[in-house]
């Protein structure tokens, strides 16, 4: 199978270029397995990966034009030659490795932690199964960055627009029956950029490897804002 992979080493290259590789594949291989086989030929190819099963979120790349995790992308589903680029819109450190600082900054900025003002009870804070169900589809985010780096609004304003991943987490805490900082969280998202740069292009939900839906979460935040303003 043929692969075209974007290479860039700032020590030696002026700009990124595409390198071709050909390897023998078997039907059940994932793209990550192909990367490993390529690395046996050429150890200089730099990628991030760890768990190999779509849980740690290290290996987001752009595959034939669509963001995804290499470890859970079957080669059988890909058109040849397989073109692999770093996820778009982020500074490239080397080859397929990008600088995620801006993405993490936006994540931290939504205060992604439970805030409560009540004294702590001795035992767990009670939460009904129905209340807990509201966190499904939110807490599973693995911070791979597939969504935010597929979002044109995030490409243009990565410093001002929180982006789909961070906003999904903002909603994860707004939706949590235990959280007591709704007003503060909503205030933080006011203004033309942080939340409202979302133009419901919906790339985020299309590329999410965990089948989460940031667009819907963003819509829910907007609805809650409206409810709070009247």
């Amino acid at each position: 199978m043929r692969f075209l992979i974007q290479r860039f080493n700032p020590e030696t290259d002026k700009k990124p270029y595409m390198q071709e590789y050909e390897i023998t594949v078997t039907p059940d291989m994932m793209l990550l397995d192909a990367f490993k086989a390529i690395k046996e030929q050429d150890e200089s190819l730099a990628i991030r990966y760890s768990c190999g099963e779509g849980v740690c979120g290290s290996d987001a790349v752009n595959i034939n034009g669509v963001n995804g995790l290499s470890c859970i992308t079957p080669l059988a589903e890909l058109k040849e030659p397989v073109t692999v680029n770093p996820v778009p819109g982020m500074p490239i450190i080397r080859d397929l490795i990008v600088d995620m600082s801006q993405f993490y900054h936006q994540y931290r900025a939504v205060k992604p932690y439970l805030i409560r003002h009540d004294p702590e009870p001795e035992m767990e804070v009670l939460q009904s199964p129905e209340e807990r169900d509201k966190l499904d589809g939110l807490y599973e985010c693995i911070l791979c960055g597939c969504c935010s780096t597929a979002c044109p609004s995030f490409w243009w304003n990565p410093d001002k627009f929180r982006g789909p991943a961070a906003l999904l987490q903002a909603w994860r805490f707004l939706a949590d029956s235990r959280d007591q900082a709704t007003a503060m969280r909503l205030d933080e998202l006011e203004g033309p950029y942080r939340l409202f740069r979302c133009h419901t292009i919906m790339n985020c939900m299309n590329v999410c490897p965990k089948q989460l839906n940031p667009t819907e979460a963003i819509g829910n935040i907007k609805k809650l804002m409206l409810k709070h303003s009247i």
Binding site: E11, Y49, S50, C51, E53, C56, Y113
Partner: protein, 587 residues
């Protein structure tokens, strides 16, 4: 070469649950703490833990910490230290509630309390009916915990060094640990981090085996660093093989699948665990279930065209239960096997999972080593917690649900003890440049150019060797051959050369440094296994099939600098309750 220096009160190496729980304790106490991790914190392997965390909350059936303690000691095949086990089981409920308060999205019961499921090796009333002690967030409990702990550290303003690789500890001539030399992966620049206290929380070393449930990053870096600093590793012969890995691939299928009512079948459709563990059946301890599967396959009752696996049946639970309680493994099985476990049984086979052994510590997380007059002299300034440590609460076999508990209990305990230590030791000791130079030399060695074997080839050979010569069933002849083979690999490592000598994000160099750690850990594992002439927990010797409490109720300590073994007694005396003396272990 002048190397940049930074100074902190505490250096935490590793950002899994253990490192982050300790860092949180320290940051909240206003200690100046740096967390160094070779990956961004939420990529750490805690993220992959599935089934849950044990605590006797008694939300579903009656329970108490004392029963949990008994089960843990029995599960450990009596090799666990009973003071540490009492401490852990007593602390469990409080710490799980604390995690809930911090935001962990635990699944819930109808009354709003934390959902708990049955897990292997759990009983009520000291060996009675099955308990339900494992607190779960669906089957993504590790993910939920790791993200919450990272989030808490964001709030506490912990200082993170993300994507820095720890090369070696800095240790002075008196034996005190002064911090570590680390490598900034992005730039390729080394950095000296001086610290009054250093905590190793680097996780396990499942990558010494070919088929494993572990992430690529689980290369035993802290274990390698300890060995090179002259610190022995304890009980390395005990490596857990998880009964239910996806056959041929190794991905983990949580024990929670059996906790929810799933069970194992051989090719005759027989629920074979009834023969091996009449009482606990599929929820016997992991070592017991793994050996049963091997035996079924070996005796010709395996499934599939090659008869090389057994089946885990879940379809009788119904799609709703599978989706609600086991959504993560459902997704994994669909992705990698193209079948839906809500309708079809999963082909499974045991796979390397957890490092029970590790850096010897006491229950405060202090690293302790044998000295002239004692088997437990503290190494000044050095702590360890989590899978890289051996407290020992898991002894010869860890119970499912006790690893997530171990990391929060002993991460916090180490944090607390460090706070105390910092009050008594206000100054940094002078930096030992000879020690720094040794660490830098280890890094510089990979600048050697020329032809040689590749890192990938040698790593693959090591993993295959360990699988063949130090697997589930062992004997003297095979283990002795294994020692020779690993020694040969260690020798050949000297001749390995990198082709890529670039500085910026050189992953090939990181993998070379990791391989050095893997080889040392593998050697400690096979040497310790060859020396223990009994069967206990996960260590199964066909030439010594019985447990031998007269000669072997003791911990091994393996030094790889001079390939030496020492032994120390098991702490049989708990903190407050009566000791649980060894009994025959039946499930």
């Amino acid at each position: 070469m002048s190397v940049a220096r930074r100074k902190f009160d505490t250096l935490v190496i590793g950002s899994g649950g253990g490192g982050l729980r300790a860092a949180l304790q320290l940051a909240k106490a206003d200690a100046n703490v740096a967390v160094v991790s070779k990956v961004f914190p939420t990529r750490s392997h805690t993220v992959a833990a599935q089934g849950g965390i044990n605590a006797a909350l008694a939300n579903v059936v009656p329970d108490n910490w004392h029963w949990h303690m008994y089960d843990t000691i029995k599960g450990s095949d009596y090799l666990g230290d009973q003071d540490a086990i009492e401490y852990m089981c007593r602390a469990a409920s409080h710490l799980v509630v604390e995690l809930e308060h911090a935001g962990v999205p635990f699944s819930r019961l109808d009354n709003g309390k934390i959902y708990q499921r049955p897990f292997g090796g759990q009983s009520q009333n000291f060996g009675g009916d099955q308990a339900a002690r494992t607190c779960a967030a669906a089957d993504r409990t590790g993910h939920a915990m790791l993200h919450t702990l990272y989030q808490q550290n964001i709030q506490a303003k912990t200082h993170f060094f993300d994507e820095y690789f720890a090369i070696d500890l800095i240790r002075d001539e008196k034996g005190a640990v002064l911090g570590a030399v680390v490598l900034e992966i992005e730039t390729g620049e080394p950095l000296i981090i001086e610290a009054k206290t250093t905590l190793l929380a680097t996780g396990g070393a499942g990558q010494i085996f070919r088929t494993n449930t572990n992430a690529r990053i689980n290369t035993g870096d802290g274990l390698g660093m300890a060995l090179r600093a002259g610190i022995p590793l304890q009980d390395m012969e005990f490596f857990q093989f998880h009964p239910t890995g996806i056959a041929g691939k190794g991905m983990l299928i949580t024990e929670g699948a059996r906790g929810e009512g799933g069970y194992l079948l051989n090719k005759d459709g027989e629920r074979f665990m009834e023969r091996y563990a009449p009482h606990a059946k599929d929820l016997a301890s992991r070592d017991v279930v793994s050996r049963a599967i091997y035996t079924e396959v070996k005796e010709g009752r395996g499934c599939g065209p090659k008869g090389d696996h057994v089946l885990l049946k879940l379809d009788h639970l119904g799609e709703e239960v599978v989706q609600k309680r086991l959504p993560g493994i459902r997704q994994t099985v669909k992705t990698f096997l193209h079948i839906d476990p809500a309708y079809e049984a999963i082909p499974i086979y045991p796979t390397a999972h957890y490092t029970m052994g590790g850096i010897p510590t006491n229950r405060h997380g202090q690293v302790v080593v044998p000295m002239a007059n004692t088997s437990e002299e503290q190494v000044a300034g050095l702590y360890a917690a989590g899978e890289c440590a051996c407290v020992s609460v898991h002894g010869a076999n860890r119970l499912g649900g006790n690893s997530l508990l171990d990391i929060v209990v002993f991460g916090r305990a180490a944090g607390n003890h460090i706070i105390k230590y910092l009050k008594e030791h206000r100054q940094h000791r002078p930096l030992d440049m000879a020690s720094v130079d040794r660490a830098l030399a280890r890094l510089a060695r990979w600048d050697l150019k020329g032809e040689g074997e590749s890192v990938q080839t040698l790593k693959a050979e090591l993993q295959k060797t360990m699988e063949e010569y130090c697997g589930v069933f062992r004997n003297q002849e095979i283990l002795d051959q294994g020692i020779e083979r690993v020694k040969d690999i260690r020798q050949r490592l000297q001749n390995v050369r990198l082709q890529d000598h670039s500085q910026i994000f050189n992953t090939a160099r990181i993998e070379a440094l990791e391989l050095e750690n893997l080889v040392e850990v593998a050697l400690a594992t096979v040497v310790s296994a060859a020396n223990r002439k009994e069967s206990r927990g996960a260590h199964s010797r066909t030439d010594h099939p019985e447990r031998d409490d007269v000669h072997w109720l003791k911990h091994s300590l393996c030094f790889t600098t001079d390939l030496r073994l020492e032994y120390k007694p098991v702490r049989m005396k708990p903190l407050t309750v009566d000791s649980f003396p060894p009994k025959p272990r039946v499930y």
